[in-house]
């Protein structure tokens, strides 16, 4: 039996046998990197920029190695904020690094939008990653899933500091790569500190990679990240093994941090003189030069020539970058979210089809199947997604795995961040891919995925339009099922506060089908909220044309009226319609508008309705305080005040959690009677 972690690493590259030209190239890259690394703080001192710089000195060996094994044609690289040399070694020029550092418009990573030192080049598959350090491990796993599915030849390489391995999502990523047997290399650059926190305060194991020794299909390689040859051999072995076995590998590289964590840190406050001294003595670049000279691979003159050439490149890069324009402030609204699928067959998202009525759950299920038949690059996963006759926690995805197979339709672990984060990652593989995830069993359980949700909303803007995840996140939402605190939550009040994602919340079967079709066909992320209390409700059932599609940002008047506008969505559309019917018997003519789409919002339709009726009651299931209705009321107050004959009112649930006992639930959630009373007050105002 072979113990994976004890398998030897072949010493392919040594000081004696490595080709001289390659040694010269490595020294050049390392020197360019180090010059910039040492020069970066000066830009801040001169108030030019680079206000965040995490120096990499001491990580030279492993960063050179990561960049050298990376093949931009086949691999995907996720460098972290300390990976400057990794990027240079992977091919970025000194000018590109400085453009990023001083946040110029020509910065290839983000056009100056993302924090300095977060370097990448999306068009080379060097991904622009978050400051939430380590969360890109999930993206690496996601893209590796695509590499394996499409039989790609590359690997995903994720790089991070050892302290960020403490993040739960890193565990989720490694667990997922192990379970799905994916070609991912997780590099832990271990310099002993998370800012000032020593690694003994992160985990009991000094070598955090060893926390994962029990994971199946996973190999762990330790190397000296300060040593060029040990690092190159380790990374070469990791890539070869990962490719051959299609399994994940961790490379833990022991590094030193020669300087402070960043320019806002002062390491002399927590490191003693002896430590500061021995890390300087262990400088990897000095060691490499000593080795080159000792083994007569390069002469002093040759080294001098390389250093001078590197200095010249950095000097010219500096001049050029300084002359490069800053980002245009008028561009801030560019690339928030890609243009959606136009859904032009039904431009208003309304139809006159008069066929058999279908339930909301059927509308979603059949649309999923239709889109999966149409597009072979569609995938869906989530908890309880598929096991024999079970398909989704509410059986919304029933029959999908039987028809489309387990490679496209599969279960995720109980790890919402993983489910969401790997969707973001997988969609990076190509733009044809469309992913649907059940983000959680119930919307209430989506909170662990918030960090990846936020990430998804940032991607398009942060990459200056170079990448946006093509993902539809489905969540079974809302209450009225006696579900208590964690099976009743409405989440849109919180989730709508982030620019960069569309949010829809249908209340009828046809709108659910049409909006889902548009979501799946669109570029960029969409949050698709499903009122689970209506899945099987006869009142939400409608005829659905086979090709129905609903454009985003199109409200639908479900009942036309002139006396009062009830602006609503989701479960409360139906309550509002009942109230409108009741009030009509009392002689009032009530309009009920289902906004359907929260982001983008059909402001025009809302304002037109207000102008027509002069009275508005905003109705939603979420709590009034902090609910989305505050936005609706605010817009109406600002933009249609002169058309109002009464104050804008809002009704929704109490500002409490949702109780489990049906008596408590009824007292908390908005109901027909409360809407009726509020509507009547407004009508009599």
């Amino acid at each position: 039996m072979k113990v994976l972690h004890d398998m030897p690493v072949e010493k392919i590259f040594t000081i004696k046998n490595t080709d001289k030209e390659l040694l010269k190239k490595w020294l050049y890259l390392m020197t360019v990197g180090r010059i910039i690394d040492e020069k970066a703080p000066n830009y801040l001192k001169q108030a030019i920029g680079w206000s965040y710089h995490a120096p990499y000195a001491g990580h030279d060996g492993i960063q050179l190695a990561i960049g050298q094994v990376f093949n931009r044609e086949e691999d995907h690289l996720f460098p972290y904020y300390r990976d400057m040399l990794t990027n240079i070694s992977a091919g970025l020029t000194a000018e590109e690094i400085i453009l990023n550092g001083i946040s110029k418009a020509a910065d290839v990573t983000s056009g100056g939008r993302h924090m300095s030192n977060h370097i990448g080049k999306p068009e080379w598959n060097i991904h622009n990653v978050s400051s939430a350090t380590g969360n890109h491990t999930l993206h690496a796993v996601g893209v590796a899933r695509a590499i394996k599915y499409y039989k790609g030849k590359g690997v995903a390489i994720s790089s991070q500091g050892e302290s960020s391995v403490s993040e739960g999502y890193v565990y989720e990523a490694i667990n997922g790569a192990s379970t799905e047997e994916l070609p991912v290399i997780f590099v832990f650059q271990d310099n002993g500190y998370g800012i000032s926190v020593p690694k003994k305060d992160q985990t009991a194991n000094r070598k955090v990679a060893n926390n994962f020794t029990g994971f199946k299909n996973l190999r762990i390689i330790h190397c000296n990240g300060k040593d060029v040859f040990d690092s190159i051999n380790a990374m070469t072995e990791a890539k070869k093994w990962s490719l051959e076995n299609q399994h994940p590998c961790i490379v833990q590289a022991n590094c030193i941090r020669i300087h402070s964590h960043s320019n806002s840190d002062r390491h002399d406050l927590y490191r003693n003189e002896a430590e500061l001294g021995y890390v300087l003595e262990s400088d990897p670049l000095l060691k490499f030069k000593r080795m080159l000279l000792r083994y007569e691979r390069l002469t002093k003159e040759e080294i001098h020539e390389i250093v001078e050439k590197a200095k010249e490149e950095v000097k010219l890069a500096h001049r050029s970058a300084m002359a490069s324009p800053d980002p245009d402030p008028a561009s801030i609204y560019d690339f928030i979210i890609p243009e959606p699928y136009p859904a032009s067959k039904y431009p208003e998202g309304i139809h006159n089809f008069a066929g058999e009525k279908k339930k909301l759950i059927e509308g979603i299920n059949e649309t999923l199947k239709a889109e999966f038949r149409l597009n072979p690059d569609t995938f869906i996963w989530g908890q309880d997604m598929a096991n024999k006759e079970k398909g989704g926690i509410f059986n919304v995805s029933k029959g999908l795995q039987q028809e489309f197979g387990p490679a496209r339709v599969f279960n995720g672990p109980i790890a919402e961040d993983f489910i969401t984060g790997t969707a973001n990652g997988m969609s990076r593989y190509n733009k044809k891919i469309r992913i649907v995830v059940e983000g959680a069993e119930f919307a209430d359980y989506f909170w662990p995925a918030m960090e990846q949700y936020v990430e998804m909303t940032h991607e398009y803007w942060r990459t200056n339009g170079k990448f946006s995840p093509n993902v539809t996140i489905r969540l079974a939402s809302g209450g009225y099922i006696g579900g208590g605190l964690y099976h009743s939550q409405t989440t849109e009040g919180t989730l709508s506060t982030f620019p960069g994602i569309r949010i829809v919340y249908p209340s009828f079967a046809d709108d659910a089908a049409g909006l889902l079709r548009t979501s799946i066909r669109s570029m960029g992320p969409t949050l698709f909220l499903e009122p689970k209390a209506l899945y099987n409700s006869p009142t939400a059932a409608t005829p659905i044309p086979d090709d129905f599609e609903v454009p985003f940002g199109k409200a639908r008047i479900r009942r036309s009226g002139t006396d009062l506008s009830l602006i609503t969505y989701g479960n409360t559309t139906h309550l509002s319609l009942k109230v409108a019917e009741r009030l009509s018997r009392e002689g009032f003519n009530i309009e009920v508008m289902d906004i359907r789409s929260l982001i983008p919002l059909d402001k025009e339709a809302i304002l037109n309705s207000v102008k027509k009726t002069g009275r508005v009651l905003v109705v939603h299931e979420d709590k009034v305080f902090g609910g989305f209705g505050g936005e609706l009321a605010g817009i109406i107050g600002e933009e249609a005040f002169e058309f109002l004959d009464a104050p804008v009112r809002r009704v929704g649930s109490a500002f409490t959690p949702v109780g489990f006992n049906r008596i408590l639930e009824a007292a908390i959630l908005i109901n027909e009677e409360k809407i009726y009373i509020a509507a009547l007050d407004l009508l009599k105002y």
Partner: protein, 168 residues
């Protein structure tokens, strides 16, 4: 017993101090002190019995002065040489790689034909993992000045006796 070469870094502090104690323990035997910081491979050929002092750095590495030297010795035939290794480590703070450097060194020189002498029992040490351990014993003398300094002299005494016998 012929001349013994005692190789260690003269710039080191703790290792140099231990080397001094070991030197004294070999009283009556010719021991030549060799500075690893400046050594040439030819100097290894001058001895048939050698003692190497090698602390473990970081999470299980050789110190630079040994690490940068070893490639020079790759082509040297040590088949008629006896080598003993001592090293300093911290079995509490670095339990996962206690005195790994002893294991790295002994493996290297054994592959070059040397006979490794001076194995030492595990009794009295508490650690998790060490490359210095093979077949239930250390392949040299591990010393822990951080946690068991009071045992150092006795351990050196015992080890030197073992090495003396095996050098003969």
């Amino acid at each position: 017993m012929g001349k013994i070469g005692l190789f260690y870094s003269f710039k080191s502090k703790k290792t140099a101090k231990i080397a001094g104690i070991i030197h004294n323990a070999f009283s009556g035997v010719e021991v030549q002190l060799v500075n690893v910081d400046e050594v040439h491979k030819e100097q290894f050929l001058e001895f048939n019995q050698m003692i190497f002092g090698v602390p473990t750095w970081f999470d299980g590495e050789l110190p630079n002065y040994w690490d940068e030297l070893l490639p020079a010795l790759e082509d040297v035939d040590f088949s008629d040489k006896k080598i003993a290794v001592f090293g300093l480590g911290d079995q509490k703070g670095y339990a996962e790689n206690f005195c790994d450097a002893i294991g790295i060194m002994t493996t290297f020189f054994e592959e070059k034909g040397a006979l490794i002498v001076g194995n030492f029992p595990l009794e009295g040490y508490t650690f998790e993992r060490s490359k210095a351990v093979k077949d239930g014993q250390f392949r040299g003398l591990p010393l822990d000045q951080e946690n068991q300094a009071r045992l150092t002299h006795k351990r050196i005494e015992n080890w030197v006796e073992i090495v003396k016998k095996e050098f003969n």
